[in-house]
Symmetry: C2
Subunit: 362 residues, 2 copies
């Protein structure tokens, strides 16, 4: 049985005004169904795990929403970060807590805010990753690139073929030219932040590279199932090193030949902005995508419009005439309209709101 760890953080600024600090993107139904992203993340693991062996690591302000959206999850499996301490502390805490229960367990980390359309292909990759993990490797699932993307980090593999490959190094986000060369070579995969390993193998690398962080997490985990959990957290967590898991562990492990990867092709999308979301979700004959919430009452009337992405969340009628490739996000207190190819710039709007202290809209 696989332990599944779901890191649930990140505001999803480029999905404003839907995604807010108080209700970030993983809590929203951006899947084309009534499931939220985090519900879909748990759901697509299907028979590979169970509620008892599924853990979410999330911020204090989202714990209640997570608990309600995943009612089958035991309460102690919602790991609440009192303060954000980046991905190494978050994933490392889960690994340490799992190790308390089962020291040689295999765990996979699957971010709460990704979309995957081909669940069967995804599960096959996870199973291949588990094989590598059982052999002692720190495995990742890498995404076979489909375009020269400059927004992601890459994994450089030692080969351009094979269902399981060795990772030579973790590569930063490239410029356009490099991204094109990476795509061409076939040796590079997108780093999607999905990991699979035996917790003992991971914790050994953590102890080697980040001994203080390792010891702190171990001490918290030792108290996890007893009465001193909160005290330990309060005492240790705030002083833990803020560092990403790639910097803290994976790069060093790759240099030691300890990291493997499974190239995945399963319709992966990190739901970065409304434009890319519209590319992956099924639309009508004109390519219009309406992302209605489960309890949506409002209607959407699109007349002679193509490639329009509508997110109706206010219950009002939304009418458009003659629109092409536009985004309309309609919430109770804010409306966004932009061309699809400008959807990334929504971040600038949010930055402007921050500067002005318009916190109720963030």
């Amino acid at each position: 049985m696989l332990y599944a760890v779901i890191p649930a953080g990140g505001a999803g600024t480029r999905l404003w005004p839907l995604s807010r600090a108080s209700h970030p993107k993983f809590l929203h139904a951006l899947t084309g169904t009534s499931a939220s992203l985090i519900q879909a993340t748990v759901g697509r693991l299907g028979g590979l795990t169970s509620p008892d062996t599924t853990m979410v690591v999330t911020g204090a302000s989202h714990a209640a929403d997570v608990a309600r959206q995943l009612p089958d999850l035991p309460a102690e499996n919602v790991l609440v970060e009192p303060l954000p301490r980046d991905s190494c502390a978050a994933i490392g805490l889960a690994a340490a807590v799992i190790a308390e229960r089962e020291p040689e367990a295999v765990m996979g980390a699957f971010p709460a805010d990704h979309l995957i359309t081909d669940v069967q292909a995804f599960q096959a990759c996870v199973l291949a990753g588990v094989s590598g993990a059982l052999a002692g490797k720190l495995m990742t699932i890498g995404i076979t690139p489909t375009r020269p993307e400059t927004g992601y980090g890459y994994l450089r593999c030692t080969s351009d073929e094979g269902q399981v490959r060795e990772v030579a190094e973790f590569v930063e986000k490239p410029d356009k030219e490099r991204a094109a060369a990476y795509l061409q070579s076939g040796e590079y995969l997108w780093n999607a932040g999905m990991f699979i390993w035996r917790v003992d193998a991971f914790l050994a690398e953590l102890a080697r590279q980040q001994p203080e962080l390792h010891d702190g997490l171990r001490r918290i985990a030792a108290a996890w199932h007893g009465p001193r959990r909160d005290d330990r957290m309060a005492e240790i967590w705030p002083d833990l090193k803020k560092i990403s898991i790639d910097y803290a562990v994976m790069e060093g492990a790759a240099a030691q030949g300890l990291v493997g990867t499974v190239p995945g092709e399963f319709g992966w999308n990190d739901v970065g902005d409304f434009h890319t979301l519209g590319d992956i979700l099924p639309g009508d004959e004109q390519g219009n995508v309406v992302l209605a919430a489960d309890d949506a009452k409002g209607e959407v009337v699109l007349r002679d419009s193509e490639g329009v992405i509508v997110v109706p969340r206010s219950g009002r009628l939304i009418a458009a005439v003659g629109l092409r490739d536009a985004v309309i996000v309609d919430t109770e207190d804010a409306l966004l309209v932009c061309p699809r190819d400008r959807a990334q710039e929504v971040k600038a709007i949010v930055d402007g709101l921050k500067e002005r202290g318009a916190t109720d809209l963030l």
Copy 2:
């Protein structure tokens, strides 16, 4: 002193979702100031008339709003049509009521839903029209065409020059080719539905061409200032002929050489749709026009956008990035987004709502 008659009818379907059957366009602040169109219509008559000599003719469902928006108007000057009976009955009733007070008074009819930017030039035209009216003519104010418009009727003049001209005939909305020829010739003016005449001269023509309509209106007017007003209205009004004033009186009067016109160039706009509205109102440096209501709380953030017309009426934040020549109309229960050059097609949305019986949105 000029009697001013303000016909206040018409739903303004192409201004949906702002303009509604229950709150049509003349009640809205579409002037670039906090004044509604009807308030601006009364306001621009300035010293030419007074509240005592200003009358509004409107439907029963708008009487209360009109009375509140024009608090200085005596109550008996709000002429309420129990049922719509087209423009000849509406304007004719006002003429007959004025004739009861002052049989040789000069009245002008100025529709409640037009925008005029150069008030001084407008007033000069009105005064020129009054001169013609005092000489016994049925005067109109014609608009000097600025484009080959196919959406208006035209006045064919007997000359292409002069501050006052004779109107040879009223011409229907032309096709593109004819409209271009009209523009070229200089002999054609747009028929803007603005009239100035001595009420005795108008009523004589009405009696000659529409004797039944004339007699009915005269009988209602005779009872206007007494206790039998409502009875007379109920008895006579519903059976009055439904006919426009152009068909009923003006075309026949023109054939008799009785109609004159004053060509006007004063930034006239009939507020037909949001596109043309955006052309006439002052925008920011990028040509964006925000039509905020007086009590608007919501904010509009336009980032790298040009030529966008925003009508914020819900109090929400409206944010746009990278938009060009678009229309955003944001009301409590409905949102419209379209390119400016498709703004006329909003009517099709409204027709669709009618077909489906979505009366609360009309």
